[in-house]
Amino acid sequence: MLFEFDADQRLWQDSVRRAVAKECPPALVRAVADEAADPGPLWRAWNRLGWTELTAPGEAVELAIVLEELGRAADPTPYLATMTQFAPLAPGDHRPGVAGAAVLDGVTARPDGGGWLLDGTAPHVLDGDRADRLAVVTGAGVFTVPAEAVTATRVPAFDPLLHVAEVTFDGVLVTTADATGADTGPDTDTAERTDERTDERADTRTSAGINANSRAGTSVGADVRTGANFSAGTDAGTITGTGGGTDVRTAADVRTAAGIGTGTSAGVDVCIGAGIGGGVSAGSSYARDLALTGMAVTMVGACRRVLDLTLEHVRSRHQFGAPIGSYQAVKHKAADMHVAVRRARALAYYAALTIAAGDPRRGTAATMAKAAAGECQSVVFRNGLQLFGAMGFTWENDVQFALKRAKAGELMLGGAAEHRARLAAEHLAGGRPTGDPLAGGRPGAGRPPVTDGGERHAAHL
């Protein structure tokens, strides 16, 4: 493994950085927060630059590079929701320039004639109030609807740049024509593929509806918690490959299959529940993995910004006759922030790389990425705000935007603790050797280990 940007990726990063510096300077972000300036022109700039066309799985690293820079800049547009939540759930529907959002829970589908009626309320939909189109995950599959079909109300948020909305579906009629056929299930195609870069969207578009979610039969917890809003008999014909007549699925099942926790307790629980029963890739899907990775890399970008601003501050602020950055207590906090950022960034790009390569470790990598980003923001928020002193406690200081962006990411799509639980469950269920640790399960099993004290090798001095 060579975990380094190649020459093209470095060029891409440079050009993204230049564009962000030009189009999205701190003054613009400030104006959006303070004067409700319209981020519309900025959204059009991202479109003009072609950044909303980065939807092929093979471009996941390039997309991640954009997201990291936008996370740094506290981008006030709906880019993240559109590209990493809506687009993968609506592969046939995404169009450059069209803002999208994803409704991951709270909506049920009731059969009605040849289609379904969608009902329910999702309380915290990222960019739900300013999306042109919404992808909605239901027990009958993923559908897309235009914004006019729903009622969306922006919820006042602590982060002044963040758009979260309460989105209500009140008898919205959809048909198979609105079904996206998004990949929301454990992705065996991916698991079997080696490292060829094919367009995964093509695969998922041709697969039959959301049949993959029938494999979410392991999601017992989901069924219990969310109850049966939707019965199997009624969706026959649209969902293939389901089991017997007892098949009762809810939106939570699909989320389970999609593996996307939503931050509500039910969503999170089913997200974790999926991992316990399954193998390493249980719950992995392109939509889930991209959403988690996108959020993680955005958080990493925001954390880098906090670190940069903190370093600037501790170099210039003097107390007791010296820059506060010369005090070791301050240095060590900064060093811990740096290590946390490096770790989280490595895991975030690793997740992007596994998506791009169609690597079977994709699901695990996305879980790790989101968990590590969560751990990182915790260290960075705590140390960063502390080192600013009262200066960081003000509205005028721009560090607030990056701090809030980083912390907000932790609150969406499941937090670090939830993802760690999932990771441990997957790994411990995944054929790890049991019994005496010396008894086998590694190369050379059966042969007593021949070594002389790892710590000597770990620490030569």
């Binding site: 060093a335 895991l347 968990a371 280990p449 021949v450 790892g454």
Partner: protein, 391 residues
């Protein structure tokens, strides 16, 4: 960015794996344990010599020094294959990794022939004499004195923590040769045979047992060392110190990655908190590999960034420690037993993983103390990577 190596690296790996399958010593052969970091049992000497002769010892070296001019990435997979099998290429790690490496970087041809080759072939073993009672983190504060007297240096002073010195044939000894120069500029390096009159070694127990003898105090009383044993130029020892350590550290993180992967196999989480720590361990292991491979790619292009390696050392050593602590506490009262609860191993078995969890956790502090403490690493990161002002 790529998830796989090029074919030449993978075929190199396969070739070495095949070699190991055929030649790696089995348990019966390897029954005698190494009891200190410079004690190499007879079987391990044969093993190391075989590796030397076949060019598998340090593949990055030229053939005359136990290698085959392998690339850095090939060296990486070589170590990976060894770690996967929990086997080492040498049971005298300081001798191979630091003393011989320093000799190859800074030694004369005669010194390489006289000292480096025998160390590499496990004919003799070596230990590293840097630290002193008054010079730990502040290594440049060392005071052991060496005065040139004709064609000999006369050495007086004391070293401490000198791992394996009592079993070693030669000590790479850092001495002060110019007490009037600024402290980094008056240091030289001498190869001191342990049989030299005036050299006394006193091994002492570690936290793992009064009879776990690796640490030594070494006393020098008018020890006369041939001037030909000076490594590098007079008063240029700091360059040797940073050079050999820098060389060493390019791949040092790998041993922490290996330790983490062993922990992931051995740690049995019980409670939700254990499982949480277990997940952190998996993430640390993965992150360390990713960051390490990034450092490797840079080094492969000839960009040496020693300060960046501090991130790897800090992350790796602290991750091992945190996971070991959790594994210890998860083991409960069973972990009170010493030496081993996991297998019926004899008391002097030094395998970190074969030891009980209590011992494993205690030994994890070697990682956060030796080779630059975690605090020193944080300061290096802050000053050299983040540009914060020195005091």
């Amino acid at each position: 960015m790529r998830l796989t190596f090029d074919g030449d690296v993978e075929s190199f790996r396969a070739e070495f794996a095949a070699f190991l399958a055929e030649h790696a010593p089995d348990g019966a052969e390897a029954a005698e344990r190494s009891r200190s970091s410079a004690h190499v049992p007879e079987w391990a000497r044969r093993w190391q010599r075989l590796l030397f002769d076949t060019g598998w010892l340090l593949p990055g070296n030229p053939p005359e020094y136990g290698g085959r001019n392998a690339t850095l990435l090939q060296q990486y997979v070589h170590l990976e294959e060894l770690a996967r099998r929990r086997i080492y290429h040498s049971y005298n790690p300081q001798g191979l990794g630091i003393v011989a490496a320093s000799l190859l970087s800074f030694g004369t041809e005669e010194q390489k022939r006289r000292w480096a080759v025998p160390i590499l072939r496990a004919e003799i073993t070596a230990a590293l004499g840097m630290s002193e009672p008054g010079a730990g983190s502040d290594l440049a504060g060392l005071r052991t004195r060496a005065v040139l007297d004709g064609d000999h240096f006369v050495v007086n002073g004391q070293k401490v923590w000198t791992s394996g010195a009592h079993d070693a044939d030669v000590l790479l000894t850092f001495v002060r040769t110019d007490p009037d120069a600024p402290k980094h500029k008056g240091i030289s390096v001498l190869l001191v045979p342990t049989a030299t009159p005036g050299v006394t070694r006193r091994p002492f127990g570690s936290i793992a047992g009064a009879d776990d003898l690796d640490f030594n105090e070494v006393f020098f009383e008018d020890a006369r060392v041939p001037a030909a044993n000076l490594l590098g130029d007079l008063n240029d020892g700091w360059r040797v110190a940073t050079g050999s350590l820098g060389h060493e550290r390019t791949l040092l993180w790998l041993s922490f990655a290996a330790r983490l992967e062993e922990l992931a196999e051995d740690f049995r989480p019980v409670t939700p908190l254990d499982r949480d720590a277990y997940a952190t361990l998996l993430m640390d292991a993965q992150a360390l590999r990713l960051l390490g491979s990034e450092a490797l790619a840079r080094a492969d292009r000839g960009e040496q960034d020693v300060a960046a390696l501090s991130v790897l050392k800090l992350l790796g050593s602290e991750a091992v420690q945190a996971a070991s602590e959790r594994a210890l506490e998860a083991a409960g009262p069973g972990a009170l037993a010493h030496p081993a609860t996991t297998a019926p191993h004899a008391h002097l078995h030094l395998e970190a993983f074969a030891a009980g969890w209590f011992e494993r956790y205690a030994r994890s502090f070697a990682g956060t103390i030796a080779g630059g403490t975690s605090e020193i690493q944080r300061t290096i990161i802050a000053e050299r990577l983040l540009g914060l002002p020195r005091k």
